[in-house]
């Protein structure tokens, strides 16, 4: 953990990229949301498909009660069944129930039990006998089947009562599913693309407005003796970075000035010391410099010759004070 903190602290760029995991988390949340939307779409689609199948069944029922010839019903069923989302329609009636009309001509006249699709015959029989609707969704074939009861007119018969029957409608859900998948896919892709683009754009802005100026600070600080003021104008913007740049620039300027001052003082001191040494040498005997805090005595050559002490010596040798060794004593 500590290493991570150290690693982070070493680079502003790393700190700026720190929210990236959050961004990825956001993408994951968005993906879950898209999945949720997709599931909701699926539910709504099934409901709409059920309504569509019911509408077709109602229409066939209406036609079955209205037509005067079986051929007319067959014609209507074939025309309705030509729509691309309708897989098949079968109308049965009688005992045993036989196919009166269908989108598949080969099934005409067959009994419900002879129909080659699983459960279809049983559903039709059940719908005829119980007068209730039955519906199934077959995910493997993307088909939705609805069996609904209906009544058929019997024109030309002595018995004018209506005959009970049933209609089976199979809807092909593949086109709707494909359209839905495409939509969900397009939404997800657009979201991800927007995420990537915005991330890139955001990084570009951060890089342009923060990382580059900060890097420029360092460059300018290194180049400072060469270009003391000119380039700083580029980074001295009105924002916080500009204030930082100005502060840094001012600090460096003041430091420069202080260094110059110290240098000048040093030069002045050296010059002063030189003059003092010259004065001492020129003055000859009996002059010494007693540095009281360090108890050190500096003496010119003439004085040293008189007193017999080295150029510098410790004060204990002169414990009687300067009066103990005077130029006059030396002369005598």
């Amino acid at each position: 953990m500590n290493r991570v903190v150290v690693w982070l602290n070493r680079s502003l760029k790393r700190k700026l990229l720190l929210p990236l995991p959050l961004l990825l988390f956001g993408a994951a949340v968005a993906a879950v949301t898209v999945w949720g939307i997709h599931a909701d779409f699926q539910k709504q689609m099934l409901e709409r498909v059920r309504l569509h199948a019911q509408l077709v069944a109602n229409f066939v029922n209406y036609a079955a009660e209205s037509v005067s010839r079986p051929g007319e019903l067959q014609r209507i069923v074939a025309a309705i069944g030509a729509d691309d989302d309708i897989d098949l329609i079968v109308v049965v009636a009688g005992h045993p129930a036989r196919v009166l009309a269908s989108t598949r001509n080969a099934w005409l006249g067959k009994t419900s039990a002879e129909l080659p699709v699983n459960d279809m015959g049983a559903d039709l029989e059940a719908a005829t006998q119980t007068r209730q609707s039955y519906h199934h969704y077959h995910p493997e074939s993307a088909q939705y089947g609805l069996a609904a009861p209906l009544l058929l007119s019997q024109p030309g018969l002595a018995n004018l009562s209506l005959t009970s029957g049933a209609v089976m409608v199979y809807l092909d859900m593949r086109p709707t599913q494909v359209a839905m998948r495409r939509l969900a896919f397009a939404l997800s892709a657009a979201f991800l693309a927007a995420l990537v683009i915005l991330t890139g754009f955001g990084y570009g802005l951060i890089r342009h407005f923060i990382l580059r100026p900060v890097a420029r600070f360092g460059t300018l600080a290194k180049l400072r003796p060469a270009d003391a003021d000119g380039s700083w104008a580029e980074v001295a913007t009105a924002d916080e970075l500009g204030a930082l740049a100005r502060t840094l620039h001012d600090s460096l300027t003041r430091t420069d000035a202080l260094l110059h001052e110290v240098e000048d003082q040093k030069n002045t001191l050296q010059a002063s010391e030189g003059r003092w040494r010259f004065a001492l040498e020129g003055a000859g005997d009996g002059v010494w410099d007693w540095d009281v805090p360090t108890s050190t005595v500096f003496s010119p050559n003439a004085t040293r010759r008189c007193s017999g002490t080295p150029r510098t010596s410790s004060a204990p040798g002169l414990r009687h004070g300067p009066a103990a060794s005077t130029p006059r004593t030396c002369r005598g």
Partner: protein, 346 residues
């Protein structure tokens, strides 16, 4: 000291830097472009072929190709949409429910006249040489006897053409009969019940009526050989945009014909079941009254000034005379030779 850059200029410079990114930005842009390109602009799956057919022996090979999985073997998604009459198939095309139709030249001309959806003949299936008939109740033995008769006919389809040609033979016109608009199944029922004196029909209805009643054939296309031609017609846009798929569709169709030649019992059983007749009756209908055409016959029909052009001209003339089509002449490009004799036979 240098002059400070104005903020607006700095911002413009920043935008310019983003608009013309450095190489370091490139991965982001490439990722974005790839995402958008892969997911957002993925090509749509081509629409399936939806072939409209009605009960007619010559069209059954298109159904057989579906049942035998020949379209799937060609990599095509095809659904054969079954109708009980030619006029219903025509109407379905005009409504956009189908994009391929098996019909006669008459329906093709009618569709081109009624609809903005352009249609082109790509293959000739057969010509009728006796299968399209006018059947009359016992007692009516010739076309001249149809004056004042109640005649069941599918309006806005081939039926009217056959009736016009039949009445002509009897020296009559359309106005001389009492036309009753009816589909094939209903006219069979009405004829059996004596509600009609005559019907304009074709197999399988004609076979059933001739088998079960004492109907007389007062006219048939044997009297006008080569005039009634059955074709496969495809939406013109598909011919230009997906010619490879159209060729595959025709290849599957010819494969079905070849299959029927090699396995007649199985093929006739499948096709006869859909027609509601026996395999023997189906076989008879194919050999008696219909002349199936092979791929080698196509060139004769599709060449400039060939047999098909002659049929189109004759049909157009008669349909205009009988008021079945009234719009501008749309015979040009009614057919395309792009698929005739171009190796569609497997």
């Amino acid at each position: 000291m240098k002059k400070t850059t104005p903020p607006a200029r700095r911002f413009a410079r920043a935008l310019r830097a983003l608009a013309f990114p450095t190489l370091r930005h490139l991965p982001f842009l490439v990722a974005a472009a790839a995402l958008a390109g892969t997911f957002g602009c993925a090509p749509e799956k081509p629409a399936p072929f939806r072939i409209g057919i009605n009960a007619w022996p010559g069209y059954e090979f298109l159904y057989l190709a579906q049942e035998m999985g020949f379209y799937r073997k060609e990599g095509l998604e095809v659904r054969v949409v079954e109708f009980s009459s030619l006029s219903d198939a025509r109407r379905a095309y005009e409504r956009g429910q189908i994009n391929v139709i098996a019909a006669t030249v008459i329906e093709v001309l009618q569709i081109r006249d009624h609809s903005q959806r352009s249609l082109q003949i790509v293959q000739v299936i057969d010509f009728s040489s006796g299968a399209d008939v006018i059947l009359a109740r016992p007692g009516l033995t010739n076309a001249a006897g149809l004056r004042g008769a109640r005649i069941g006919v599918e309006l806005a389809s081939l039926g009217v053409y056959v009736l016009v040609r039949g009445l002509e033979q009897g020296g009559l016109g359309l106005a001389d009969g009492k036309l009753v608009s009816m589909d094939q199944l209903s006219m069979e029922d009405a004829f059996r019940k004596g509600e009609l004196d005559a019907v304009v029909t074709y197999p399988p209805t004609s076979i059933q009526l001739l088998r079960d009643t004492k109907a007389n054939t007062v006219f048939s296309t044997a009297d006008i050989p080569g005039e009634v031609v059955d074709v496969i017609a495809v939406e013109a846009e598909l011919n230009t945009q997906r010619p490879g798929d159209v060729a595959k569709l025709l290849r599957a169709y010819h494969r079905a014909i070849a299959y029927a030649r090699q396995n007649p019992a199985e093929a006739y059983r499948i096709m006869a079941e859909r027609e509601g007749i026996t395999p023997e009756e189906f076989h008879a209908s194919l050999t008696d009254g219909i002349q199936l055409l092979s791929e080698s016959d196509q060139a004769d029909y599709f060449r400039p000034g060939g047999k098909l052009a002659a049929v189109i001209d004759a049909s157009d003339r008669i349909l205009r005379q009988s008021g079945q089509i009234k719009g501008p002449d749309r015979r040009s490009n009614a057919s395309t030779a792009a698929f005739a004799g171009k190796g569609t036979t497997p």
